[in-house]
């Protein structure tokens, strides 16, 4: 990326005042990136900005309170930072935000689907529109648009909406003005029994690792999640689909009016359960009822933390 060097320069400038800067670097093969913790000058060179940088690094911030932390953010990640600030879960004085214009990230599940079998990845060359992945000496040419994460296709915040350093040229706000819920709306048209069956079938393979929760930047209860508490006893430890589904409802509800739809829950899921849809549904209703979007304005109060005496968009049942 063109502005990668510029970003390294900014980090170099800011680092003496900071304990650590979190960015990304290459991982176990050329098709993957991983979060990269920069402690000193010698770590800066490894930093890489690429469409492989799927991780939302805001996830680490609440756990690092009290430290001076720099964080590199994509547009969507910056919304999580804003939401954390709105809720006073992190302090603005402690964090330094590095933003850049993001053109989207790659969905590894889509790459897997397109290539069929991703074994020994030897190289991965990316340009603005395509990538060529060489697996076991065989090159696979993919269009970037084919393997772009769904959320990126209708991204409305490609530039970090809050930053102390911004490198590169801003892409400026993209169309559409409203979030895209077409897939969700299609699902909502299914018969109720089909919807019910869908979730049971999908959640059956959940292994209850709670990666969805751990990867979520706004799941800040961390070691005190009600999923594992014995008293109150919300969930049993049994391997049953009811508890698995119940947990997803817990997650979605605890995200109501807070979720910035970064999609980390779904990306982190080791068995690819499409759980983002539940959060999208919640967001769609929040937008509908409260005309509110999480993590776009520092001064906003999340809707479930406030109320109005007269609610314009709530029509109660007339008995």
């Amino acid at each position: 990326m063109k502005f990668q060097e510029e970003l390294k320069e900014s980090i170099r400038k800011a680092l003496p005042e900071l304990d650590v800067v979190i960015g990304w670097c290459g991982s176990f093969d050329p098709l993957h990136a991983t979060p990269h913790f920069i402690y000193g000058e010698e770590d800066i060179e490894k930093l890489e900005i690429s469409p492989l940088n799927v991780h939302n690094l805001a996830t680490y911030l609440p756990g690092m309170r009290g430290k001076k932390v720099g964080v590199v953010v994509k547009g969507c990640d910056s919304r999580s930072v804003v939401e954390l600030l709105q809720e006073k879960l992190i302090s603005r004085d402690d964090i330094t935000i590095f933003g850049f214009p993001c053109t989207g990230v790659i969905d590894q599940s889509k790459v897997k689907k397109a290539i069929g079998y991703v074994g020994n990845v030897q190289s991965c060359d990316m340009s603005d529109e395509s990538l060529v992945v060489v697996v076991d000496d065989k090159p696979h040419s993919l269009k970037l648009s084919e393997v772009l994460a769904e959320k990126c296709k209708s991204c409305r915040y490609p530039d970090a909406i809050i930053s102390d350093y911004f490198v590169g040229d801003r892409i400026a706000k993209k169309d559409p003005a409203e979030p895209n819920y077409k897939e969700l709306e299609k699902f909502e048209k299914l018969a109720v029994s089909e919807r019910f069956g869908y979730w049971l079938k999908e959640l059956d393979r959940c292994i209850r690792c709670y990666a969805c929760r751990s990867a979520c930047p706004l799941c800040v209860c961390r070691d005190h999640c009600i999923a594992e508490s014995r008293d109150p006893h919300w969930l049993s430890q049994e391997n049953n689909v009811r508890d698995k589904l119940m947990f997803q409802v817990i997650h979605a509800y605890h995200m109501a009016g807070r979720c910035t739809e970064c999609g980390e829950c779904q990306r982190a899921c080791p068995v690819d359960i499409p759980i983002l849809m539940l959060k999208q549904k919640m967001n769609k209703e929040v937008l509908d009822i409260f005309n509110y979007e999480a993590g776009v304005n520092l001064k906003d109060t999340p809707p479930l933390l406030s109320f109005k005496m007269e609610e314009e968009n709530i029509t109660e049942k007339d008995w």
Binding site: F28, N120, R208, S214, D223, E238, P270, V271
Partner: protein, 353 residues
Amino acid sequence: MTLVKYLKSTDLKSWLAELAEKNSVFAPRYEGDSVIFAPFDPEQEIYTKSAATVPPKKTVFPQSEKLVDFTYHKDPENPGKTLIDGKEVLPQGTTVVFGGRPCDVRGFSMFDRVYLTKETTDIYYKARRDNTSFITIACEFTESTCFCHWVGSSPSDPIGSDVLAVPVKGGFLLTAVSARGETLLTSKLLLEGKPKVEEAEEVLDKVMENLGKAPDLSKSPGKLLEVFDNMEFWEKVSAKCISCGTCTYLCPTCYCFNITDEIQGLKGSRIRSWDNCMSALFTMEASGHNPRPTKAHRLKNRVGHKFSYYPDLHDGIISCYGCGRCIKSCPAGVDIREIVLKAIEFMPTVVEE
């Protein structure tokens, strides 16, 4: 003389259907975008190209299992007293697991050293272990995350398996590697295997070549102990860990569990379920004290257990078979190989006095 047979891919389902007459049969298949082990269903495609997303660990060590069913009732002699009726629930029936990989199946030999010792026998584990056979597929391809050859195993390691299936043109060459394996190879659908032996050997030679050279891990037990108290080391290598349980739950050699009573009304069950050392609750004590308070302590335990403490107790055997799932499926890209190598290469900075 070892029993070798040839199975045509087109006969695979019929063969599994035969086996399913007397056993419950598990085979890997796609569910959504993941490959998991599910009860054999002739309607569904079986996936045999590479290792499944989730290993078949649950067939011997279920995600959760009932140990005892119990009910509460009043003592008719003394109504002020509550009695409990308990009934042990032991696993029943025989199981055949098709399509695990050597790294998946060898994992159980690790369990055996813990659950089936001279002093103690875990009866629930034993019942399943004794009644489960494995038809394992040797790997024809390797992935970026594979490192079985680092830890004393190989893509055709037969330990723990009953039948080893090597992919050859048009099907599999099946080799019985246990007495139980021989009884699995009696079907009329199976053809003489000898003509395919040479081809199978070539497949295995090629895959070993692809894996490349393995680093020497013999020093890992001692080296990991040397950095045990170096929390700065562990904080750095665990910085990106997000403390989920993906690595442990997908690990074919992780065997830790939790026991809880799940009660509804007057009925309940004592269950055993997977536990994971990445969770803060894993070591949380009743007093509120937690000896592993941070993710650095917890990841240290995971790496240390597999590459140091276990080998110290069990003849130097590393309790990891290099399936690479903890690397591939980690949402944050934590790489256990990298941590072990860092520990081996770690040189304490000399402080001049």
